[in-house]
Amino acid sequence: MAVSSEIQAPRSGRVAPKYTRHGSSRGNFEMLAWLFMRVSGLVLVVLIFGHLFVNLMVGEGVHAIDFGFVAGKWADPFWQIWDLAMLWLAMLHGTNGVRTIINDYADKDGTRFWLKTVLYAATAVIIVLGTLVIFTFNPCPPNAAAELLPSFCPAP
């Protein structure tokens, strides 16, 4: 009998490398992320619409915003908590959203890694900074001009 040349594997099962999935991700991270997007989204609707309404619609709108305005809001723990929640939720929600987008479009593992590193770093900085600002904020900083400060500040 003629010697057979190399015998090829059947084509079924020969999948272009791009499409093979490497290992499976254990755990529920993607599920929790998905759920978080929805829950945070719902809460953010209230927080952001409230925020926009108060800042842009009430009174003189955007013109009313100045240091005094902000300081006035943050003197009230209610707005402190509000803005803090908004900061955290929006940042986490947005970061996770951008993470998804990076996963979708960055095709090299290296690019993906770097983009995500930058993203997480930026997020961490912003969240920490924002949190510090809200909590360590002094509505009546010692040597500022009085007319810039909210009216409840004691005269220097």
């Binding site: 929805r38 719902l42 609707v45 955007v62 100045d66 900061l87 987008i101």
Partner: protein, 127 residues
């Protein structure tokens, strides 16, 4: 194997375009948020610094940008609610296109009064 020829753009319908919109607005808002936290953080530096930066928000050009941002947020928010309905409401997938038209309707409903007020404020210049 071959490289896939690029070909024409896929002609999606409501579902696809709303997703494109959601994605674009999401990223836009995210980047704005980064900047927004940074500028707000200036309140820690000094009232003067904050006010200087905030003042730039008050020129008409920025007002337009701001209007765009609000438009993006409002769309993203309403469409986000639509997505949530599609996920959790039994009839959501069936009515997804109608829901999108609802989103667009609501968006117009919110944006018209907002723009009127916001732009009059911006261009008549308060203070």
């Amino acid at each position: 194997m071959s490289k896939t020829p690029a070909g024409t753009l896929y002609r999606g319908r409501e579902g696809m375009w709303s997703w494109v919109g959601h994605r674009v607005t999401g990223v836009a808002i995210f980047f704005f948020l980064l900047v927004h936290v940074l500028d707000t953080a200036l309140v820690r530096v000094s009232p003067e610094a904050y006010n200087v930066v905030i003042a730039t928000y008050k020129n008409p050009f920025m007002a337009l940008l701001e209007a765009g941002l609000v438009a993006a947020i409002v769309f993203h928010a309403f469409n986000g609610l639509r997505v949530i309905l599609v996920d959790f409401w039994k009839k959501g997938p069936k009515y997804q296109a109608q829901l999108l038209w609802g989103v667009v309707g609501l968006w117009v409903l919110v944006m018209v009064p907002f723009l009127i007020r916001h732009l009059t404020l911006a261009f008549t210049g308060g203070h």
